[in-house]
């Protein structure tokens, strides 16, 4: 893939579709398409002559099933369409929504226009070039648009697990998180995996939170400033002291000394106590069996 922003999912969908999507950008930049569009109802008939596979079967069951091809692929108004070319311009010059997602300008934003400005889409909306590696665009989180499902249709906890999987795809990957400008590491994912919150999600709780419940989706709150706001969604009256308990820091002597030494204390207490008790029991049993063997008459 020649372009740095290209989402994984598009890679999977194949170069042909990718080129198609990019081509519509060109039209978006010069939207005065010549001539009247042919009837959109003909879309399925004509487009699918060539573009039948691989996605159409899943598309019929997707949340986008009611859309027509050219609702998104706006540039291809004639059949057959012009050969498509890869976009090679400066992506950050695209306005306005394209600043966060060039693809979204042409396709997603046509319907999903209420997603906010890139400044509001913190921190994922920042595509100012200052951050490496590149931040995610629509499809990085939402996946292949021809197969997209409404997350609201999923029951809990499947919905939260799906949301968590979306976040951890990047935030659980050390290659993406350790390097770059942010260098936030995968500790948040690891500590969440050991938290009471995730345990309850995995055990089927409808109330326990996933990533998005605290951190938000499109309109991510900066939890470093007022983390208790997120806590208060469930724990009414939570204070900053309360929120300080969820730091996403690993339990080490340096990062969380109280937790660390509490665990160490109980680990040794339990080990030594049970060792002593088992030793006592073993001696007792050994003696009883020996006594029985020695005095078979008794």
């Amino acid at each position: 893939m020649p372009l740095a922003f290209s989402p994984r999912t598009m890679r999977a969908a194949g170069a042909k579709q990718c080129g198609l999507t990019l081509a519509l950008l060109l039209v978006a930049l010069s939207p005065q398409a010549e001539g009247a569009p042919s009837k959109k109802k003909d879309d399925r008939k004509w487009c699918l002559m060539c573009h039948r596979e691989p996605a159409y079967a899943a598309f019929k069951d997707s949340a986008h099933a009611d859309l027509l091809c050219r609702d998104c692929h706006e540039n291809n108004q004639f059949n057959p369409h012009e050969p498509v070319e890869e976009f090679s311009g400066d992506l950050t010059q695209l306005k306005p929504f394209a600043k966060s997602d060039p693809v979204a300008l042409a396709a997603c934003a046509g319907c999903h226009e209420d997603m906010g400005t890139s400044a509001e889409l913190m921190p994922h909306g920042r595509a100012d070039g200052a951050l490496k590696p590149p931040l995610p665009y629509c499809l990085d989180c939402h996946g292949e648009p021809h197969q997209i499902q409404k997350v609201e249709d999923l029951p809990q906890p499947q919905r939260r697990l799906a949301e968590n999987a979306t976040c951890t795809a990047c935030h659980g990957n050390p290659e993406r998180m350790d390097g770059g400008t942010l260098a936030i590491g995968i500790e948040p994912v690891e500590t969440y995996a050991d938290s009471m919150h995730l345990r309850k999600v995995l055990l089927g709780s409808a109330n326990a939170p996933g990533c998005v419940d605290c951190h938000g989706g499109h309109h991510t709150a900066d939890l470093r400033k007022a983390p208790e706001q997120a806590c208060n969604k469930c724990h009414e009256g939570a204070t900053a002291a309360f929120a300080s308990l969820v730091t996403h820091k690993p339990v080490t002597a340096a990062q969380k000394p109280v937790s660390f030494w509490t665990q160490k204390f109980f680990a040794w207490l339990t080990f030594l106590t049970i060792l002593g008790l088992l030793g006592h029991i073993s001696l007792d049993i050994t003696h009883s069996l020996g006594a029985r063997r020695g005095r078979p008459g008794k």
Binding site: R199, G204, N207, G237, A238, V258
Partner: protein
């Protein structure tokens, strides 16, 4: 308690001035000693020499002056209050361990956790039952403390449950006995060192579990009152102490009380509250000897009085 025990013949009381050898000493309850003629009337249930003693004593006019209830084949070890306290504690403990396990386990995906949660009808209900069982355990603990307070105000608490140097001696003797360097089991007092260990382990354990459990139940309130590190300690202490307690109870306590050779598969003392004199002599030799000595003294005194 008195009413319940009145139909059973208690063990002879020691000198009234001498503190009873029990934490709870229903066997030396006063009311019985007020009806001395009634006690010796049923000597037939007695066996061996003590029965003969009792028969002789019943003919003695001194018995009406200095009442000496006869020894019996069984002695009361745990009265109804103690058995109720134990029952509440034990049932709430098992329920707490089972319902707490899924959230304490480090892999919530584990099938055992999922199976337990399914058994209780979902994680929310599982947590609800955990809290109800916790309340039962708190009630049992308060019941026990109130019971101790009443005993203390009535006739003074004996120190028989307190750790003493004799416990260390007994431990050494018992280990020597286990490895064959000593011919006989040490003569344990009313509460042997391993029984005292169980009692104080539970005492410490309940305090930790109730304290940390309350902090975890009311995290917002707790962090409003205490600094946040208190919650941190409570969070880890609750799960870790629970593991220690569960291991200690299900391995150590169960072995010593129910599973050891000679008792297996189950002791009924926690239900009946009674030990036979033979069991008493075997398991609490020092207490048995004290009992016999006290009885002999009382008898001697009775004869002097006559």
């Amino acid at each position: 308690m008195d009413a319940l025990e009145s139909e059973e013949t208690p063990v002879a009381p020691a000198e009234p001035a001498e503190p009873p050898p029990l934490v709870a000493a229903p066997a030396v309850d006063a009311p019985e000693s007020k009806e001395p003629p009634a006690a010796p009337v049923e000597p037939l249930q007695l066996l061996g020499q003590p029965a003969v003693d009792a028969l002789e004593r019943s003919e003695s006019p001194a018995a009406t002056v200095e009442p000496v209830p006869p020894p019996v084949a069984t002695v009361l070890r745990f009265d109804l209050h103690q058995r109720l306290q134990h029952g509440l504690l034990a049932s709430s403990f098992v329920l707490l361990v089972v319902t707490g396990w899924p959230l304490a386990a480090h892999s919530a995906k584990a099938s055992a956790s999922a199976a337990i949660v399914a058994l209780f009808g979902g994680i929310e209900r599982c947590s609800g039952i955990h809290r109800i069982a916790a309340i039962v355990m708190v009630i049992a603990s308060l019941y026990h403390l109130a019971y101790l307070a009443v005993l203390a105000s009535r006739r003074g608490l004996s120190a028989s449950m307190l750790p003493s140097p004799g416990d260390l001696r007994n431990l050494g003797q018992n280990l020597l006995f286990f490895v064959g360097k000593r011919g006989e089991r040490p003569k344990f007092p009313r509460f042997s060192y391993f029984e005292k260990f169980d009692y104080w382990a539970v005492f410490w354990g309940v305090a930790i579990m109730v304290g940390s459990g309350l902090v975890r139940w009311f995290p917002v309130e707790a962090t409003g009152i205490f600094p946040p590190w208190v919650y941190e300690i409570a969070h880890y202490a609750h799960a870790d102490e629970a593991l220690l307690a569960a291991l200690a109870i299900f391995i150590w306590h169960f072995y010593n009380v129910h599973l050891r050779p000679g008792v297996f598969p189950m002791s009924r003392v926690f239900l009946t509250g009674r030990l036979t004199l033979e069991q008493l002599q075997e398991e609490h030799g020092a207490e048995y000897e004290e009992l016999m000595r006290a009885r002999a003294q009382a008898e001697a005194k009775a004869k002097e009085g006559g």
